[in-house]
Symmetry: C2
Subunit: 501 residues, 2 copies
């Protein structure tokens, strides 16, 4: 076994170096690479990926990992967890013929451009054939990976959030459907809150200044990270010592940069607060997509759209944009950032209607994978579901089924983790309230108390504990979506002054 460990660790070092290079290449692509270099770049990436596969699929490495997996009980706790994770992923990978995987990657590279064009021109028919090919591949993938206990769509769902399958998600979304759909209907029938002032002209330089203020409020250490602009905000990095966030600034929409900054800094805080002993191991970084999303949404919505937070920081914002905000009171601002609206675009949705957007996508993915619904039937289903869940008419496919990049990128089973993340966050928040003085923690000069709590309860474990383990350990019960519903209903009943809830 010693020999196996040596082989594993040597290969791991090499694979890490490749991951490191790929991280920086993709960071460059997303933030500044000139468009003319991308053809050369895809060639070089292809070469790097094929070198990685040479290492991770070679017989010696596979056998070493298998040996370690078989004797995992003899390993130290962290190494055991790492080997289990690596072996499970490797086992999956090896079930898929390499040639098919490469063909699929090439399909995806093409698909993204076609999707862009289709979205730009509101032309779903253009996208449909390539979407059909991607769906076919998903089905083939499922066949390769199906086990006695995991079948169909569950294979994909389990890929993104281990242990969550249709059974769990159906229960979760059924509850939301029952409780949230009528609640949203009621709220959106009331007089809308006024948020007109957020659409005034806000200098981008000053927005950037406020973004840096938020970095300080969230205790983001610029020694180990940076912020930059990109078309779509995201967080990236390597280990705990290099964590980067991006933002997009709109001159006519103050709130976009503020909340996307808090959201991305939430992801970044999670990464930064992982125990650094996991750096360069397979357990590095947040434990799952849903848990990562729970942290970004915790900061963005639970903290960032709270009254105590803005009691502290609104005066700073008001001072910065005095001309636009001098006659906007704290309460007006708080209401504006919590305005509920039936809207078409997921990424612009408010906290309350957001999970309904996810439900639409979950239902459609189920229909695609399990009921073999034809791609040409999808826009109609999309539009019907927006009517059912949000009571809104979809005017065209650009603002409908073509809005998200995910399916063009082959991500099926990913969307549900977004809603799950919000629910994790609410369950953690329920516990935090018992242990912290929230007004004080959210309304302090900085969020160090919030950070410290989340570090201790969630972040420090990196990938060494699953969300299920973390929730049980921290909240003393299994995942329970009722906290999410309670949180939403309580908050928005108060804001919209619903007395009979």
């Amino acid at each position: 076994m010693e020999n196996a460990l040596e082989i594993y660790q040597k290969a791991r070092k090499k694979l890490n170096a490749f991951h490191y290079a790929m991280y920086l290449i993709s960071w460059d692509s997303e933030t500044e690479a000139p468009v003319g270099c991308l053809e050369e770049r895809s060639k070089q990436i292809g070469e790097l990926v094929s070198m990685m596969l040479e290492i991770s699929h070679c017989k010696e490495y596979v056998e070493a990992v298998k040996t370690l997996y078989d004797k995992k009980e003899e390993l130290t706790t962290d190494l055991k967890l790492e080997i289990v994770k690596v072996w499970e992923e490797l086992e999956k990978e090896l079930k898929i013929p390499e040639a098919e995987l490469i063909e699929y990657e090439m399909l995806l590279a093409k698909a993204n451009n076609i999707w862009c064009e289709a979205k730009l021109n509101n032309n779903y028919a253009l996208f449909a054939p390539v979407l059909a090919q991607i769906i076919n591949w998903q089905k083939k993938y499922i066949q390769y990976l199906e086990t006695d206990t995991l079948k169909g769509y569950d294979v994909l769902l389990n890929d993104y959030e281990k242990g969550f399958t249709k059974k769990e998600y159906d229960e979760f979304f059924d509850l939301l459907k029952k409780e949230l759909v009528p609640f949203v209907k009621k709220i959106t029938s009331l007089k809308p809150l006024d948020d007109s002032f957020v659409y005034k002209k806000y200098s981008i330089d000053k927005q950037k200044e406020f973004a840096h203020y938020l970095m300080d409020v969230m205790c983001f250490d610029k020694k180990f990270g940076l912020t930059k602009e990109s078309e779509h905000p995201f967080t990236s990095g390597y280990g705990t010592t290099d964590v980067r966030v991006t933002c997009h600034y709109y001159e006519n929409l103050l709130t976009s940069s503020i909340f996307s900054m808090i959201h991305e800094l939430g992801h970044a805080t999670y990464e930064r607060q992982c125990d650094s002993k996991y750096d360069d191991t397979a357990l590095s970084g947040g434990t799952t997509m849903a848990m990562h999303e729970s942290q970004s949404r915790f900061y963005e919505n639970i903290v960032g759209r709270s009254y105590p937070f803005w009691s502290k920081h609104y005066p700073v914002l008001q001072q910065l944009f005095f001309e636009n905000l001098h006659d906007v009171e704290l309460d007006d601002f708080y209401h504006a950032i919590n305005k509920i609206e039936k809207t078409l675009i997921r990424t612009e949705a408010d906290e309350l209607t957001y999970p309904l957007h996810i439900m639409v996508r979950y239902d459609i993915e189920k229909a695609i994978i399990e009921s073999n619904l034809d791609v040409h039937a999808l826009p109609k289903l999309w539009n019907k579901l927006y009517q059912d869940y949000l009571g809104i008419e979809v005017p065209n496919d650009t603002k409908g089924i073509l809005q998200d990049v995910h399916w063009a990128g082959g991500s099926f089973g990913y969307f549900p983790t977004y809603a799950l993340g919000s629910a994790y966050a609410a369950q953690l928040y329920h516990q935090m309230k018992k242990e912290l003085n929230i007004d004080e923690a959210f309304g302090a000069d900085d969020l160090s108390k919030v950070n410290a709590w989340l570090k201790e309860k969630v972040h420090k474990y990196a990938g060494s504990k699953s969300p299920k383990e973390i929730l049980l350990m921290v909240t003393h019960e299994e995942f329970n979506p009722k906290y999410y519903l309670e949180y939403l209903k309580e908050k928005y009943s108060k804001i919209y002054q619903l007395t009979n809830e």
Copy 2:
């Protein structure tokens, strides 16, 4: 041989992908990486480098290259040139024990920090021991690489500019010493030209605007490159489709960003105008350091400090900084950017005194390598040479021997190529004047005519022709420094109205 070619090409693809990754990692380090990530980064770079060595030093690869080299006459012209270059470099590399090379790299990594601190604190004694170690390594390196025809300092000089050894450089610098030192003395004894206005306050945003204007003037295609800020300006890239320049802006020094931008864009134009068939081969990019420097200096000095160039573009600059420049006439501006001064710092030196700074370093390197001068004696020699060549007193080591990073980086034999580059540029210019209407080409809306001429004569060949071959082909004679002297004397005699020259 077919088999050897296959082995070579397969390995080359892999090595290219590593070079590509290293290029972007180092670009990131130089322009934005947070300082806290650098420890992790050096570990990952170490791993990437060791993987590269595994490929390029493995027996199979070395034998394949050797086989191709031995049968080079059977190869196509470009492949033959490539193999010769690769084999010559590989042969050198293999003469140095890998362990010593790694030890040396670690020494250099340490040396840079020590040099920074020594420079900051004007403490040469701090730097001396590590400099001594680096010098020892240079001597060991020379021993490994000495041949019957190349000995001592020549080994290093030849590394940076093939075919240039002490013999050629001595001739070159002796001529400069004889002609330029008295010429500079005469000019600096005259009433200084007035450049006080360049030290006024110039908005950095507007300087950036003008930098973008210069990019257009130089026909820099932003589809294949970009500009960014960094502490020290430089040019980087990969092949012809990704070429990047950086700039540093000083609020109180207008000319710094203008001329460093033109300089770096000169390097970039060379890279961009290489024939793209050399991309991904060992012949990619400019042919040597000196030729690269000749191109950046051609644009910076010969074009960028010329009267016709500013006749066209000064009105734009004047308009942009109207408050500061409205009463500065074109002639005043032209004189200010060509002001000759005895100064201490090489990188801030004017076009005329610049080669004297290089002569100081050349003499010192010779003394170090050939006369075994002790490191503790170097500052005294430095100060004496500044007195001899420039007639200037060096007040401290920070502004003296500690000013350049090169020796801390192990670059011995590099400095002379800077002066050589200027001389190449002047010889090319002498020919250009016969073929182009200079007033028209330099004074046009953009520099497309200059670019086209240099592309045809120099750039398109990339690394497939040596500077010697290029000069002979373009100017119909061997390298001849008299054109450099003529150019300098003619230009500055006119500006300083020396009638008896």
